[in-house]
Each structure stands twice: as C-alpha cells, then as structure tokens.
C-alpha cells in the first residue's frame, strides 16, 4: 500500500516538475500595445506587418499583442486615466498634449539609459532630437511621428470656380470661397465634434499668421486669438451644414467625396486620398501653405505642425520584459522600417530614414513646403499648454459659428476654461 502511494506521489512529482520546467523554458514575454494605428488609419497595414515580422523573429520569447483603439480621442482619454491610476500599458502611442503629464507621473519607462547605451539607436535620430525631448535627463517618450498641416485643395473644383492658384491671403481666400459657393460646391471642410481637429488646425494657422510662431508664449490676452476667431467665424459661412458637431470622419469624408474644395489635415491622410477618396481625387489635389492675415506677425509660407505621436512604455519591474519592450521599440525605429511606414501611409517621422525616390507627390510637396517654411509653429492643441483650454476650443468655436458669442466672447470662453 505504502509502495503504491509512494509510486503515485513520485509520478505526480515528476509530472509537476516537467510542467514547471517546460513552462519556464517556454516563458514568452507578452507585450501589450493599445494602438491607434489600426482600422482605417493609413499606418495599419505596415504596422501590422512590422508586428508580425517582429513576433516571427522572436517566436517563443516575445510576443507583441495589439489592443485595437480606433478612436483617437477615446484613446487619449483612456491613457489620461491610466496615467492617473499608474496602470500604464506596456507600450503606448502618446500625443504631444499628454507628454508633460506622462513625464510628471513618473510611471513611464525612462528610455534615456537605453538610448545612451546604444549609440546606433541614438544615431537613427537627428542630432539633439532625443536630447531636446528629455526633461531633467529623463526620456519618458521616444519622438516618432512628425506632422505639418498645409492646406490641401481640390484643383478641379477651384478651376471650375475660376482659380488656378490657391490664394495666399484670407481676403482672396474668402473671395475664392464665394466663387466656389456660387458654383454650387462647398468651400471648406470644418468640424466642432470631438477635439475639433480640422478647424483647430485652421485656427492654429490663423493664430500663427496673426501673432507669429511664438503666439502661445504671449498669453490668451493677445489680440491674435480674437483675430484668428474672426477668420474662423467667416470660415464657417463657407462650410457644410453638418460642420457643427461633425467629427473628423464627417469633415474628411466631404473632401474625399469632392463635396468640399479645401481641407486641412496631416500627411498621414495622404494614403486615404487614394484608398477612400472618389476615383481620381488624388490627382486633383494640390498642396499649399495656409493663407496669411494681412498685417499679422506671421510670415508667408509659415506652417503649423510639430511632434505628433511619440512612443512610450510603462515602467517595468521585470528587467527581461523591459529589455523586450526596448527591443520592440528599436524595431519600430529602424530606418528601413520607418521608410516602409512612411512610404505606405504618407506619414512623416523624425527618424533619419532613406525614403524611396517614388514617394507620393503630395508627400514630396509637403516636405518641400517644410524646407521652404520660415517656421513650423505648434498647433493650438499642443501649444496652448492646457488640456482644459484645448478641450473647450470646440465649444467656443461652435458658439462662435452659431452666433452665440463674438470672437472676443470665444476667447473669453477659452480663458474661462483655464
């Protein structure tokens, strides 16, 4: 009887030992990445490929799992809550407006030691790009995607309205809008839903034009904020009837379907002109710097833009997992991979990548625009330095567009939110 019990115990012990040994031997590190580069996003395909290739190359040891986040605003809100609770995901895509709070939380992995210990990784970035992204020697997020937001316009619609060139000042711009309207089309795509993205970009352009690229340092009392709202007030006379309350899908959709003549968004939208636009749309699109306000402190050809998405990681207690995350971040920043990403989507990246010669025409024109630009001013959402003011912008804009407040009143709404 005792023999039988001992025999059974031995078998059980051996079985358990094998299970433990095999599980330890096959311990796979899983990295979760709530990613916004999914669904309709222009980077979806190549990001998916890069993850698959990375997982295949590290089969059995590291696995990157994407949690799809298709709504940028909800993603930012979720991230905000996670920063506050200290429950950060393994990897995250951080917008410029959250960089400060992410750093202050102290919950992000400091990437500076990893960058400093790998000169090759440091070298894929332009000189001082990483240093300027550090705060007190800590690198909480890796600069990744860049953007500028020139005007994109439908040359065919403008030609039908009698315009071969895009106007370089707002007086001529609104005359052009009159002509477009008279021709039965709508001049601009606007929106006040969510963060009011497209309209916020227009406002940023007008703001930099009126107050100069350093307008955000001058405070909300500066008259440029009112002047820029005066431009927006007029802009809303030449937009679609659903602009108030519309989200980015609606405002972009109008331009993609040739219902509007002028649209403003980042270079990541380039691929969508072909994939989601009506046939022939891409060929009809022109790129131009935003119009100027006469007598403003800005300069002709000035752009707005800056850092779009940065890559960050949650602080890890397991050194092996930290190494795995760093390995994946290095994979995403390899110049060849960045070039693939840029080529397929049209998005711009800070990493020094040799881009193919046959890059999209619009991408090349935007790049040229940046080279020629006297400055690239921050967009309002990032430059104003207050999440509360940035989130009040769509409400102030809709109040202005509906005639509920004057441009001065719209600025007061922003001040009130501070």
């Amino acid at each position: 009887m005792i023999k039988l019990i001992l025999k059974k115990l031995s078998i059980t012990f051996i079985a358990i030992s094998f299970t433990v040994i095999s599980s330890v031997a096959s311990a796979e590190i899983t990295i979760t990445w709530p990613s916004i580069w999914v669904g309709k996003d222009s980077k979806t395909t190549v990001i998916g490929e890069l993850i698959d290739e990375f997982n295949a190359a590290n089969a059995g040891s590291i696995k990157v799992v994407v949690e799809e986040q298709t709504d940028y605003d909800i993603y930012a809100q979720k991230l905000t809550a996670q920063i506050a609770t200290g429950e950060l995901p393994d990897i995250m895509t951080v917008g410029a407006q959250l960089l400060d709070v992410l750093h202050r939380s102290g919950k992000a992995m400091d990437l500076a030691p990893h960058i400093n210990s790998d000169p090759h990784w440091n070298n894929v970035y332009p000189e001082n790009a990483l240093q300027s992204a550090m705060t007190d020697g800590v690198l909480s997020a890796l600069p990744y995607e860049l953007f500028v937001t020139p005007v994109t316009y439908n040359k065919k619609i403008l030609k039908e309205a009698g315009y071969d060139e895009f106007p370089d000042n707002y007086d001529d711009f609104f005359k052009m809008c009159e002509a477009v309207t008279a021709n039965g089309k709508v001049c601009t795509s606007q929106m006040t839903g969510k963060n009011g993205w497209t309209s916020m970009l227009w406002y940023s352009q007008a703001l930099a034009s009126a107050g100069g690229p350093d307008i955000y340092e001058k405070g909300l009392d500066h008259p440029a904020y009112v002047k820029a709202f005066e431009v927006m007030e007029k802009m809303y006379q030449y937009t679609t009837s659903d602009a108030i309350g519309a989200d980015a899908g609606v405002s972009g959709g109008h331009f993609l379907n040739e219902r509007t003549a002028v649209f403003m968004n980042g270079p990541w939208f380039i691929a969508r002109y072909t994939s989601d636009g009506i046939p022939g749309l891409h060929e009809n699109i022109g790129v131009a710097a935003a119009p100027m306000l006469m007598g403003g402190e800005g300069s002709p050809g000035g752009y707005v833009g800056g850092r779009q998405s940065s890559l960050a990681a949650g602080k890890q207690s397991d050194p092996a997992k930290e190494e795995a995350i760093v390995k994946f971040l290095k994979w995403l920043t390899i110049p060849e991979n960045v070039a693939r990403l840029s080529y397929s989507s049209g998005a711009m990246f800070i990493v020094n990548a040799d881009l193919p010669n046959d890059m999209d025409r619009l991408f090349i024109e935007m790049k040229q625009g940046i080279s020629d630009a006297p400055y690239v001013a921050p967009i309002f959402q990032n430059g104003i330095g207050s999440l509360a003011v940035a989130s009040e912008f769509p409400q102030a804009l809709s109040a202005l567009a509906l005639g509920d407040v004057t441009p001065e009143g719209a600025v007061e709404m922003l001040q009130d939110a501070e």
Binding site: T85, V101, G193, K194, S241, I244, G245, A388, L402, D404
Partner: protein, 290 residues
C-alpha cells in the same frame, strides 16, 4: 418588534456582508470624492484648496447650464415620458388584439445598446444625409433640408430629449405589470353600473396604479439625473455647451486631469440628487410609501 439581546450577534453577522460591501463600494468612494473635492488633484499631485473648486464651478456658465439641463431632462421625464407611459399602459391593459406586439416593440429600445441607439439617432438627425431632413424635405418642409438638429442651439436639446421619449416602454411595462394585479371584481362592478372603458381607465385602473406611477416618476428623475451616454455620443455637450449635463461635465473635467474639480462637481450632483429625491418623497409620500 423588539430584538432580544442574544439575537443581536446573529443580526450583525447576517447584515455584515451587506454593510461591508456598502461601505467599501459606496460610503468610502463618496468620502474619497468629498475629500478630493477640496483639493486641486490632477491625478498626480494634490493640494488642499478649500472651497475653490465649488466657487469656480458655480461661476462657470457651462456648469450652471449642465445643472439646468439635467433638471430639464428630469422634468421632461416626469411630465411627458412617464405620463405617456401611463397612457400607453392603460391602452394596452385592455388586452386588445395585438397588444403584445405593441408592448414588445415599445420595450425593444431597453434591450438595445444605448450607444448603438445614440449613433442611430445621430445619423437620423444628420444635416446632410439624415432621415429626418429627408422626410421633412419630401413633405414640403424644404426649409429643414439641411437643418443641423444636433448642431443648432435652438434644436439640440429638444432633439436629444425628444428621442429619449422612445424610452417610454420601460415605464409602460412597469405600469402595465401593475394593472395585471388589479382584481377583475372592480371592472365587473363598474360594468354592471354601466361604466365606459374610459371611465374604467380613469376611475379604476389609474387610481389603483398611482403608487407605481409615482415610483416611475422617481425612477425617471434618477435616470435622467445620471444622463450621460446619449449626450456624450450625440453632442458631447455641444454646441456651445448648450446640451451639457452634469455627468458629461464631470467626464470632461476628468479627461483634462482636473480630478479635484470633477470630484466637486460629483459632490454637487449627489447633493442635487438627494435634494430632488427628498422633494419628490415629500410630494409623493402619501401615495408611494404608505
């Protein structure tokens, strides 16, 4: 009933799980909310700021508007949605042909995701391709061809609250269930006295389900004080904060990392809810609680 001394231990033992859970998930969060409402907590740092959050909130037009909009939702529910539910319940209580179909159709919105319903109605109200404008245009009201129902200060609130009427089915079902418990003897007696159907409805059914009707009013007020998903998904409080409600306001404060002020708004909302319930309890006490 007097509790014996030796029963106290057992009594405490049996109510302990409920008390512990209630304290953990209700009392403590409220105390935490109250404490954080006196700070400038941004999710990372916090300093005591006294009543500053409350003063700032009451000085904000958008916050005051959120309170008035919530009251607007509550009043609409109490004066329109629930009475409409009562009328439908009275009609369906006749058990006429097809009454089950109507009951099911009216109850369907309760079993569909509110997010899906909000998206559907946002599409119906859309200015460019919305069904409502299409219908209005086709019946000759071409002035409304491109009317932005949810993006217009004059119509946004009405459009939001208007569609909420489809939730009449919830209250209708509660009141209809109550009608089933009314003894047939009343109706037989009324029939002998020659009462018409309308007289039966108004003099027998309605008075006998009065307590349920008042209960529905209380429920409707509570639901509408917590209004969030329709406003958030359809207008996000816009345009120009005209459709702002308390929970969306609190949500916005949290997303911009003003957690202290969001907590203060939460405390005000709880106080407002408590006041409304006490008021309703006082008004409806004799019918609902006796």
């Amino acid at each position: 009933m007097k509790i014996k001394k030796d029963e106290v231990g057992w009594l405490l033992l049996f109510i302990a799980p409920t008390l512990i859970l209630f304290t953990l998930f209700f009392i403590l969060p409220i105390l935490f909310l109250l404490a954080s409402s006196f700070t400038n907590w941004d999710g990372i740092d916090a300093e005591f700021v006294g009543f500053e959050n409350y003063i700032k909130l009451f000085n904000k037009k958008s916050f005051v508007r959120a309170i008035t909009n919530n009251l607007y939702w509550c009043i609409t529910a109490a004066l329109i949605t629930v009475p409409l539910g009562l009328i439908i319940a009275l009609l369906l209580s006749h058990r006429s042909r097809g009454w089950k179909v109507f009951r099911t159709v009216l109850f369907v919105p309760q079993v569909v995701s509110s997010a899906a319903i909000a998206m559907l109605w946002a599409a119906v109200f859309n200015a460019e391709y919305g069904l409502l404008n299409f219908i209005l245009d086709n019946i000759g009201l071409s002035d409304y061809k491109n009317h932005n129902w949810l993006g217009n200060v004059r119509t946004a609130n009405a459009a939001l609250i208007g569609f909420s009427l489809c939730y009449v089915g919830y209250f209708m079902v509660i009141m209809l269930a109550k009608t089933a418990s009314i003894s047939e003897d009343y109706y037989d007696a009324a029939k002998i006295d020659g009462a018409s159907q309308i007289q039966k409805d108004f003099y027998i059914t309605a008075p006998l389900i009065k307590s349920t009707f008042f209960l529905c009013i209380i429920l409707a007020v509570i639901f509408n004080l917590r209004q969030f998903e329709y406003v958030y998904l359809m207008t996000a409080g816009g345009p120009a904060n005209k459709t702002q409600v308390l929970v969306v306001y609190i949500w916005n404060e949290l997303t911009v990392q003003r957690l202290g002020r969001g907590s203060a708004a939460g405390v005000i909302m709880i106080a407002l809810g408590a006041m409304l319930l006490l008021l309703l309890r006082r008004i409806l006490k004799s019918e609902t609680y006796n």
